[in-house]
Symmetry: C2
Subunit: 220 residues, 2 copies
C-alpha cells in the first residue's frame, strides 16, 4: 500500500514538475515576444495555454485517485493535499505568462516597452524562468534544503520590480501614461509569477518536513 | 459517520463563510480609507490582516481533521478538497484588501485618487463587498442556482476596470504617471478580488453538483 502510494505520489510530483516546466517555457516565450514584438510567438503562447488547463485537470484527477485509492494518512495526506494547492499555483503562473503574451499581441506592431525598461524585463523574464526551473527541481527531488534557497531568488525579482517604478516615476519619463500602464501591469505579472514559484518551494518544504520554512529556521 | 461528516463539513463551510465576511469587511474599510485618505482606517486593515492568516490555518486544520477522521469518499471527498482550495482564494482576497490599504497609507496625507476616477473606485469597492457577501451566502447555503448568478457580478467589475483604463488613456489625463501607476495597480487589485469571489462560487457549484458551471449549463 505504502509502495503504491510512494509511486503515485512521485508520479504526481513529476506531473506537477512537467507543468511548471511548461509554464516556465511559456513565460520565456512570452518575454521574447514582448521584447522583440514577435506576434507569432505571442500567438503560440496564447494558443498553447489550453494545454496547461488540461494538465491541471489531469493532475487534480491523479491526486483524487491517490486520496481515494491509497487513503493516505498523516504526512502522506498532507503531501497529497499540497498537490491540489500546487496545481492552483502552477495554473496561475500559466495565466500570468498568458497575460504577458496578450499585452505583446495587443500592442503589435508597436513595441510595448520603452528602451529604458526593456533591460528590466529581459532580466525579470530570465529570473522568472530560472525560478520555474528551480521550482521544478525541488518538486521532483523533494529536497527541502534546496527548496529553502529558492526564497532568495524572489528578492531579486522584488528589487527589479521596485526599480521599475523608480524609472517610471522619474521626471524624465517621456513615454506617456499608456506605456506606464502597460509597464505597471507587466511588472506585476512577473512579480506574481515569481511569488507563485516561491510558494511552490514553500509547499515542498512543508511536504518534506511537515514544517513551514519559518518553523524550520526557528528550530535550527 | 456520515452525520459527523455533514456536521463538520457544515462547520468548515461556516468558517470559510466567516473568513469571506472578514475579507469583505477589510475591502470595505480599505476602500473607505482610500477614498477619504483615512490613515487610521488603513492602519486598522493592515493590523487586522494577521487574523485572516490565522483563520486560514485553522480552516486548513479543520479540513485535515475531516479528511483524517471521516475519510470521506467520492463527492464528499471532493467537497473537503474544495475547502483547501477555498482557503487559498479567501486568503488571496485578504491580501488584495491589504494591498489597497497599503496604497492608501503610502500616499497619506496626499489623496491617491484623482477626482475623475474616485467614483469608479467607490463603485468597484461596493461591488467587491457585494461579491464577497454573495460568496459567503452560497458557501453557507450550497445553493448552486444561487452560485451561478454570481458569475455575472464579475462582468460589471470587468467593465468598470476597462473604463478605468479608458479614462487614463485619455489625452485629458492631467495627473501624471505616478497617479496612473497607482490607479492601474488598484484597479487590478479590485478586479482580482472579484475574480476570486467568482472562483468561490464556481467551487460551490462543483461541490454541490460535481460539475463545473460550464458542464452544468451545457447539460441544461
Amino acid at each position: 500500500m505504502r509502495d503504491a502510494y510512494q509511486e503515485q505520489m512521485a508520479a504526481l510530483n513529476k506531473a506537477l514538475g512537467d507543468m511548471v516546466d511548461e509554464v516556465g517555457a511559456a513565460m520565456a516565450q512570452a518575454t521574447q515576444a514582448l521584447l522583440e514584438g514577435d506576434l507569432e510567438l505571442a500567438e503560440e503562447v496564447i494558443s498553447n495555454h489550453d494545454s496547461v488547463a488540461e494538465k491541471s485537470a489531469e493532475a487534480e484527477d491523479q491526486a483524487f485517485q491517490l486520496l481515494a485509492l491509497q487513503a493516505p494518512v498523516a504526512g502522506d495526506l498532507r503531501s497529497v493535499v499540497s498537490g491540489f494547492q500546487l496545481v492552483s499555483e502552477i495554473d496561475r503562473m500559466g495565466a500570468l505568462a498568458l497575460h504577458v503574451a496578450k499585452v505583446a499581441r495587443r500592442r503589435h506592431p508597436a513595441k510595448v516597452l520603452p528602451d529604458e525598461v526593456a533591460g528590466y524585463f529581459e532580466e525579470m523574464g530570465r529570473l522568472a524562468v530560472e525560478l520555474a526551473q528551480n521550482a521544478r527541481r525541488v518538486l521532483e527531488n523533494q529536497d527541502y534544503h534546496d527548496a529553502l534557497t529558492l526564497m532568495d531568488d524572489d528578492d531579486a525579482m522584488d528589487d527589479l520590480h521596485r526599480h521599475l517604478f523608480t524609472v517610471m516615476m522619474d521626471r524624465e519619463w517621456s513615454h506617456g501614461v499608456a506605456a506606464a500602464v502597460d509597464v505597471t501591469l507587466l511588472g506585476r505579472y512577473y512579480e506574481r509569477f515569481a511569488d507563485h514559484a516561491v510558494l511552490i518551494a514553500r509547499r515542498v518544504v512543508f511536504q518534506a518536513t511537515g514544517k513551514t520554512p519559518e518553523q524550520l529556521l526557528e528550530a535550527s
